[in-house]
């Protein structure tokens, strides 16, 4: 029995790092190759040794697909391809290929900052890895090999994020990666056609939440920034290089313009230009509004947001600064934080998730006395705010996507077990499909019914057509023939042709049945009674009384005989051919009910 097998190495009931193995139609595909930011040792990478033990990964995997540029989806890729030794193809969209190296370099910087270069990938490795990438366009069917094909769909979430359909023969799996079903200020909503995959693997980060309207969150954010700036405070927004940062920039830019605010907004480390470059390059990936207005005004060319210089942090008066990295664990954002933390007029807004151990995590959990290098203690007096701007589909969005794709079954990843459980029930109830939620290392096996192509002989088709019925896709018809399996080909031919081709003789198969009738009359008379009864009941059939006393209905033969022991009982011998099996059974059951009392 063919089957689809799915084993998450990461993202199975967690949101740490995505890495999911899928076997479909004899092909093995790895979906995402993410890194866990919470670990500093090898546990940050998925444990690939489970895949093949001692074998070569390149021989085992047919391809790797990366859904988007976030490190929890692509961060282990250089390690996987340049250090573990995977040498096969890697697929991702064009924007993902362009932006991936920037984030990987960013992460490398932090890793080197912490531990030096030891046991971590180098810039050259990142480049060599990116050279193995085959970039794909949206809705382009890419042939990985003769049997395996993939196709990307728009996923929203971040620039270049895609869902992927993986198809082998008639079997298919759709992997959503991270996606967003509502458009935001710079990206559109995820979309997929009614592709009816055997399995939909979907993220479920917000599996139980119907997110409060985005507008509310945005208004809240703007209000907080505005208040801080009005009271003369400085606002720090730690961000990662690309992604949510651009969304927040557009938000602030528009607000500043509308409110005619004068406080400066800065964006650190030259990323504005870089981001600008990529958004220009991949403008088709942004939402409709941005694309439309692009000719008159590029939304990413900001009027109010300027490049930050380290010296600006000491300037008097209010300001807003976007600085990297996003979790306040090193570099410029941490430096600014240390400088501003002591003043209660200032504010830090964390727009995303922070892993344990980072300063970001500590202040979000309410810690206000932080130990810094050299046993110094930093007292945090500034206001600390958390506003999640990560763009994932909420429960409603996930249900919407399931409805759109109409899968035969659903598998949840990238979420918490408890929330998955809730969504799983909801999906099973509403769509009547099975829903799975494997933990990391657990394999889900789905049997699939393969569609096997069968050739049909012209003769058989012609004969069918001769009956005057034209083929109609909506009205399936029964067609009798003989299925010949030869040289791993299947052909349906007429029975005569099959006999001829295979050099076989035809055998007649007849069914017989005995029906006991209570009738003291002679056999001949019983036969006549049977004849007249059948003649009156089976008006559409040809019923005959033959000279030898037997009765026929089409090919069915009925003979009456005396019972050897009971003279008051007659035995009817009924026999029919295989072709008239239906009529034969019907007739037997008729006779078993007995004959009507003679009118005489």
């Amino acid at each position: 029995m063919p089957e689809i097998r799915v084993t998450p190495l990461g993202a199975g009931q967690d949101v740490g790092r995505s890495c999911i193995l899928v076997s479909i139609g004899g092909k093995n595909v790895m979906l995402d190759c993410g890194m866990h930011m919470g670990f500093n040792d090898d546990r940050r990478f998925p444990d690939f040794s489970y895949i093949t033990r001692n074998g070569r990964l390149t021989d085992f995997l047919d391809c790797v697909i990366i859904s988007h540029f976030h490190l929890d989806h692509c961060g282990a890729l250089p390690y996987f391809s340049e250090m573990v030794g995977y040498d096969g193809p890697i697929y991702m969209t064009h924007p993902t290929q362009a932006i991936c190296p920037i984030l990987l370099e960013d992460y490398r910087k932090i890793a080197v900052d912490k531990k030096g270069e030891a046991n971590f990938f180098t810039s050259q490795m990142i480049k060599d890895c990116m050279k193995k990438v085959v970039a794909v366009h949206l809705h382009q069917t890419v042939q990985v090999d003769d049997e395996l094909e993939i196709k990307a769909y728009y996923a929203g979430h971040v620039l270049g994020a895609a869902m992927f359909q993986i198809k082998v023969g008639s079997e298919s799996v759709v992997y959503t990666g991270d996606y967003n079903m509502t458009p935001d200020r710079h990206l559109g909503a995820a979309w997929i056609d009614k592709c009816r995959p055997n399995l939909l693997i979907t993220e479920s980060t917000y599996a139980t939440t119907i997110r409060d309207s985005k507008r509310c969150r945005e208004r809240d954010f703007l209000k907080k920034v505005h208040e801080a700036v009005e009271r003369g405070g400085k606002v720090l927004i730690p961000v990662f290089a690309l992604g949510r940062a651009q969304e927040l920039c557009i938000l602030l830019e528009t607000f500043w313009e509308r409110m005619n605010l004068k406080a400066p907004i800065y964006f650190s480390t030259g990323l504005t230009e870089k981001a600008n470059h990529y958004y220009k390059l991949f403008i088709t990936w942004t939402n409709q509004k941005i694309r439309k207005t692009f000719v008159q005004r590029n939304m990413f060319e900001f009027k109010h947001i300027k490049a930050f210089d380290r010296a600006f942090a000491d300037n008097p008066g209010p300001m807003v600064v976007f600085a990297t990295p996003g979790m306040l664990h090193a570099g410029q954002s941490l430096q600014i934080f240390r400088k501003w933390a002591g003043n209660e007029k200032n504010m830090v807004i964390m727009p995303g998730y922070c892993v344990q151990g980072t300063v970001g995590h500590k202040i979000l959990s309410g810690q206000r006395k932080l130990e810094m290098e050299g046993r110094q203690v930093l007292e945090v007096k500034m206001q600390v705010e958390y506003m999640s701007f990560s763009a994932h589909a909420d429960a409603k969005g996930i249900m919407q996507l399931v409805g759109q794709a109409e899968p035969e079954s659903v598998l949840l990843v990238h979420g918490e077990a408890k929330k998955m459980e809730f969504l799983k029930q909801k999906i099973e109830q509403e769509f009547r499909v099975s829903c799975y939620m494997p933990a990391n290392g657990e394999t889900v096996t789905l049997p699939t019914s393969p569609s096997i192509p069968v050739g049909i002989s012209l003769g058989l088709l012609k004969r069918e057509m001769a009956q005057g019925l034209l083929p109609d896709a909506k009205k399936p018809r029964l067609l009798h023939g003989t299925l010949i399996m030869k040289d791993s080909n299947f052909r349906l031919v007429s029975s005569e042709q099959a006999l001829k081709e295979l050099g076989l003789a035809e055998h007649q198969l007849r069914f017989t049945c005995r029906v006991h009738l209570h009738d003291p009359r002679k056999e001949q008379e019983t036969a006549v009674r049977v004849y007249s009864h059948l003649k009156s009941v089976l008006k559409e059939h040809c019923v005959q009384h033959l000279p030898d006393g037997s009765v026929t209905v089409e090919s069915i033969l009925i003979q009456a005989a005396a019972h050897s022991e009971d003279p008051g009982t007659k035995v009817l011998l009924v026999s029919w051919t295989y072709q008239d099996e239906e009529l034969g059974s019907h007739l037997t059951s008729l006779l078993k009910k007995g004959l009507p009392q003679a009118a005489s």
Binding site: R43, L71, K115, G374
Partner: protein, 764 residues
């Protein structure tokens, strides 16, 4: 455990035991286990429990049936296991649906087996399994049962447990175990298909590698030979490779294993009707050869088997224990043939050849594997005629418009390796005429690649070029051929490529070209009106304006190398050059550019202070070695290029590696100046104080005023007054020192309690 942590622990335990309190971050529990592990490894688990009764409380508490999160339950079980490992053994749990649990359970079984036999069987190597402790007997019969099972997953589990056992334990009892179990293992070979073949191979190799099992007595070699002939060609490959890697092994078995590896290539040669002489030497067995139809029946089978075979042979080639004589020539022939089949160049003369051709044509996977192997084969020699064919096929790949970017990259790599291995003409250290001829054909191909619409191809082309110049830049034949081609001009154009990776590679290549005097019309800064802009000016433009880090880093590498080598463009006015580069680098947003700036500063410093640079054994021009001079005079050039301002600023850089590098540089400088016995402390006091004050402001994060020109005496005084060692100590502490501390972990976990909203598991 330090007292701070001991105080925090009880509160944490009660949080963990409370099902209403969610644990925020899934990494916390892992890290907590790490910490407990270091504690138990350092001392007694019992002591840990006695000193922290809250731990025992937690373990007892989780045993009660309640709605505890699986995470906390798993954590508690692992903790319990860790603590108990010292005293007792554990029940085993196998057959879990999770790979991780099954694998952990398997490992646990191995440990228990080893532990239970430690005392009992060690003293009596003759002890039979019947006399083993009950626990060990139970495990053995469990394994036996699994091996007899009809379910492949169960067999796999049993084989994996045994593989780990023989891999880790080298005690005499393992021999007893093998003698008992090997008949059951052999039985697996009678099934068709052989179940869990991959794990079976792992097990047999693990046994064969074990030092305890003197295999002659155990019938191991027979089992191995039997397995080789029973497994499918794809499954047998890894076993064959493993056998050939063994240090000691019967010759007949090695021959059999090698024949298995060579079979697919023999098949290829046969199908393409190669000279029979080659075949004989390749197919060592001389037995009936296998046909393409049976060994390579379908495209998928053919591609898979050839890729694996080529990869196995690639691993085998460099090993000292590889088969001897090594059939270099037939292997070369087969690899070249495969490459020609893949590119559609070979014209098949037989049906079998036709099939192969249809399977392989355009197959990128096989092309990549074959090119990798071809590159490795450059380590050996081959007959002249074959080497000509190698170069021909490489040239075909480098020329063909059908070659994919990844294939081209491998073709470039293989080409470089073959050129490297071609013998040099005696006496003139130039490439041999053969390779020269090839180069003449190759260089016209390169421009096409440098103009490819694929950035990957342009980049691989430039990387290849840089390697070539580095290796043969000094050789006349190569120089002539290169200068006659369009390559140098095109490379220069690629300095403005839209792709930053390509710009970076072009910078590296141009740096090399210029160093070797291979730039088409070298222009110097003295002739700015020349047709060509000076390369130095162009690279400075990239350094100050390129929006991406990679090209700017590449420029800094080239500049550092130029300074080391005394490159003509630099040697003219070294001080001006260094001053300009440092000024631009100090403003750079990329930490690696700033770090490389310090590297360049160090080279300049070494040259100025007269210490010959240790980094450049190949320097064409000796470094500007100044004679020992009074301290002030020696430091003056460093002051003029504002090296100190650059280094002091870097000392307080927000990126730690930069600060560390600067600290090392200043310490080195202070050591250098200490040996000079010039007048000390002659710097005017107010100036020193103002510099010190500025440095303190910088340290506090204020990046305001520049220092301006500093007198050498002031620099020396400041250097001597600074606590550089202390600073180095702080910098050496990894920046995640706080992050990694157990105290921080406990505080974070406690702080998160109750602070979690509905969307606590957030992500990007």
């Amino acid at each position: 455990m330090d007292p701070e942590c001991s105080q925090l622990l009880p509160a944490l335990c009660s949080v963990l035991a409370d099902p209403r309190q969610p644990v925020a971050d899934d990494t916390c529990l892992e890290k907590l286990l790490d910490w407990f592990k270091t504690i138990t490894e350092a001392g007694s688990s019992l002591l840990l429990l006695q000193e922290n009764p809250c731990l025992l409380g937690l373990l007892c508490h989780v045993l009660k049936p309640q709605d505890l999160s699986p995470r906390v339950l798993a954590f508690s079980l692992r903790l319990a296991g860790m603590l108990a490992a010292q005293e007792d053994c554990f029940q085993y749990l196998q057959g879990d649906s999770s790979l991780f649990v099954a694998s952990a359970a398997g490992q646990l079984l191995v440990h228990i087996l080893g532990l239970s036999l430690q005392g009992a069987a060690e003293g009596h190597p003759g002890l039979q399994t019947g006399d083993w402790p009950v626990c060990a007997q139970k495990i053995v019969s469990h394994i036996e049962e699994s091996l007899r099972s009809a379910a492949t997953p169960q067999i796999t589990q049993a084989l994996n447990v045994l593989t780990t056992t023989f891999g880790h334990c080298h005690n005499p009892w393992t021999q007893v175990l093998w003698v008992r179990l090997s008949p059951l293992v052999a039985c697996l070979l009678e099934k068709d298909p052989v179940p869990a073949a991959h794990s079976l191979v792992d097990l047999l190799l693990s046994v064969a590698r074990s030092s305890v099992l003197s295999s002659s007595s155990c019938g191991l070699w027979e089992t191995l030979a039997q397995t080789l002939s029973h497994l499918s060609p794809t499954q047998a490959g890894p076993l064959a490779l493993g056998i050939l890697k063994l240090q000691e092994c019967p010759q007949a078995l090695r021959a059999q294993a090698f024949a298995v590896l060579l079979q697919p290539l023999t098949c290829v040669l046969e199908a393409t009707a190669q000279a029979p002489g080659l075949l004989d030497s390749l197919d060592g067995t001389g037995g009936a050869s296998v046909t393409v139809d049976t060994l390579l029946p379908s495209k998928a089978a053919c591609v898979g088997l050839l890729c694996r075979t080529l990869a196995h042979l690639e691993l085998l080639q460099p090993l000292p224990q590889r088969p001897s004589p090594w059939p270099q020539a037939p292997l070369l022939g087969a690899t070249v043939t495969i490459l020609r089949l893949c590119s559609g160049l070979a014209t098949p003369t037989s049906d079998a050849g036709g099939h192969l051709c249809a399977f392989l044509v355009g197959c990128v996977r096989v092309q990549r594997a074959a090119l990798d192997f071809l590159g490795t084969l450059s380590q050996g020699t081959g007959p002249r005629e074959l080497v000509t064919r190698v170069f021909a096929v490489l040239l075909e790949y480098l020329t063909s418009p059908d070659s994919s970017p990844t294939v081209l990259k491998k073709a470039f790599q293989a080409t470089f390796r073959w050129l490297q291995s071609s013998p040099e003409t005696p006496g003139c250290s130039d490439l041999d005429p053969h390779a020269q001829l090839f180069l003449r054909e190759l260089l016209p191909v390169l421009p096409k690649r440098l103009c490819s619409p694929c950035w990957e191809v342009r980049d691989s082309g430039l990387e290849f070029l840089t390697q070539m110049i580095g290796h043969w830049g000094g050789q006349a034949g190569f120089r002539r051929a290169l200068l006659a081609s369009e390559v140098p001009e095109l490379t220069e154009q690629l300095l403005r490529d839209p792709e930053s990776y390509v710009r970076a590679s072009a910078v590296a290549a141009m740096g090399q070209l210029s160093s070797q005097g291979l730039r088409v019309t070298p222009a110097s800064p003295e002739h700015p009106g020349g047709r060509q802009k000076s390369l130095l000016a162009e690279l400075l433009r990239i350094l100050s304006t390129d929006s991406e880090g990679f090209p700017r880093r590449a420029v800094m590498h080239v500049f550092t190398q130029w300074l080391r080598d005394g490159h003509a463009d630099v040697a003219g006015d070294t001080e001006r050059f260094v001053a300009r580069v440092l000024q631009v680098a100090s403003q750079d947003l990329d930490w690696e550019v700033r770090a490389q700036g310090l590297e360049l500063a160090l080279v300049f410093l070494e040259q100025t202070l007269g210490r010959p640079s240790s980094h450049c054994p190949y320097a064409v021009t000796p470094p500007v070695a100044a004679p020992p001079s009074p301290l002030a005079q020696a430091l003056r050039p460093l002051c003029r290029v504002q090296l100190f301002e650059f280094a002091f600023r870097a000392l307080f850089d927000c990126d730690r590696p930069v600060a560390q590098k600067s600290c090392d540089l200043l310490l080195f400088l202070r050591a250098q100046t200490a040996s000079y016995s010039g007048p000390q402390g002659s710097g005017s006091v107010p100036e020193v104080a103002s510099v010190e004050a500025a440095l303190q402001r910088w340290q506090a994060g204020d990046q305001g005023q520049p220092l301006g020109y500093l007198e050498p005496e002031v620099v020396v005084a400041v250097l001597r007054s600074m606590d550089l060692e202390g600073l180095r100590g702080v910098l050496a502490e990894s920046s995640d020192r706080v992050e990694k501390s157990p105290q921080s972990l406990l505080q974070d976990m406690l702080a998160t309690v109750g602070a979690l909203g509905e969307d606590e598991a957030d992500c990007y």
